[in-house]
């Protein structure tokens, strides 16, 4: 990184580009915030059966990732789930 880059503010055009990329990924995936919230709650419920997680710190997002076939990008669901305690419950 050049020294000048430290002083240069990110132009609003760049900001627009970054915002748009995020907006369009979720627009295209057809997932409303309500549905995202429901997915999130279901994930919390399922994972909580097996370990102690931090529901407040849980973050899920729909983004893009390279497809395995190497033909462009596909939507992907990323979930960041902080684990508080890895308690090993006895399996029934």
């Amino acid at each position: 990184m050049k020294l000048m880059d430290f002083f240069r503010k990110k132009g609003s055009g760049e900001v627009a580009k970054d915002r748009l990329k995020f907006i369009l990924v979720s627009d295209r995936s057809n997932c409303s915030p309500e549905i995202m919230e429901m997915i999130k709650n279901d994930i919390i419920e399922v994972i909580s059966k097996y370990m102690d997680i931090d529901p407040q710190g849980l973050d899920i997002q729909i983004t893009e990732t390279e497809s395995e076939g190497g033909n462009g990008t596909v939507p992907a669901l990323f979930a960041n789930i902080p684990i508080k305690d890895m308690k090993h419950r006895p399996l029934r």
Binding site: K10, S12, G13, A16, L20, I23, L24, D27, R28
Partner: protein, 262 residues
């Protein structure tokens, strides 16, 4: 072979009607027989941009309802007799026409004209569905702004779902001075985000306002926007036209300034 082109954008106020008027007139300049249909029922506009508002007798809804013959409703342009307008109705609403009726109308016009241009209303409701129904290809107009691009992306999605054969992008009202200082999305960025074929870039130009005031589209004139629209028309008919340098300064003074800068 005739072609039916819908001009659409999703968001209002990005320049659909101005684009329709200029592309229509530009194609007429290229000796094509062109008819433009204002499909924005209830909000008639294309007639004013073309300076034909005083000649309207019948409109789109009259034709569809069989109150007049199609020929009677078509208004010939003053300068280009091969350029016609079918105006929209002012006192009706969007559901006065169905997509099936539009397809029928458009197919009738195919017999007579090389190009049928459909000026689509803003939004994605009935008016959009009507305009898109009979089209072979679409010109999606956007400006380099977050809201307009987001709506354009929605429109592209809907057009693809409806199996539109060809979709091209027009980036309207770009300001190179703002792009240069990093305060406006670049042409490449917009293309990247929307990932459809670019057919034209029209700079923000005061002359558009002047032209609309006078009711005379500026396509083919010396203004940058006029040239940009003319290039788009040539690309529509299948010519390969390089994208012009929007940075170029106009006139002798600008050129002199460039020389001194070197």
């Amino acid at each position: 072979m005739s072609e039916v082109i819908v001009i659409t954008s999703g968001k209002g106020g990005v320049g659909k009607t101005t684009t329709t008027a200029n592309v229509g007139m530009g194609l007429a300049m290229l000796n094509k027989k062109v008819v433009m249909i204002d499909t924005d029922i209830g909000l008639r506009n294309l007639d004013v941009v073309l300076g034909l508002e005083n000649r309207i007798v019948y409109n789109l809804v009259d034709v569809v309802e069989g109150k007049c013959r199609l020929k009677q409703a078509l208004i010939k342009h003053k300068k280009y007799p091969e350029l016609c307008l079918l105006p929209s109705a002012q006192t009706r609403d969007k559901d006065a026409v169905t997509p099936e009726q539009m397809i029928e109308l458009v197919n009738e016009l195919r017999e007579e004209f090389d190009y049928v241009l459909l000026d689509c209303p803003a939004g994605i409701e009935q008016g959009f569905k009507n305009a898109v129904a009979g089209a072979d290809r679409a010109l999606v107009v956007t400006t380099p702004e977050v809201s307009a691009i987001r709506d354009a992306d929605r429109i592209v999605g809907l057009l693809e779902a409806g199996e539109m054969k060809r979709i091209d992008l027009i980036i309207n009202r770009i300001r190179m001075d703002m792009v240069k200082r990093g305060d406006m999305l670049k042409v490449e960025d917009v293309c990247d985000i929307l990932s459809i074929n670019l057919i034209g870039v029209v700079p923000d130009d005061e002359q558009i306002v002047v032209a609309t005031n006078q009711g005379e589209p500026l396509v083919g004139g010396s203004s940058l926007a006029g040239q940009a629209y003319y290039n788009i028309c040539n690309r529509i008919v299948g010519e390969e036209v390089p994208f012009m340098d929007l940075d170029a300064k106009k006139g002798l003074f600008g050129k002199l300034k460039d020389i001194f800068k070197k």
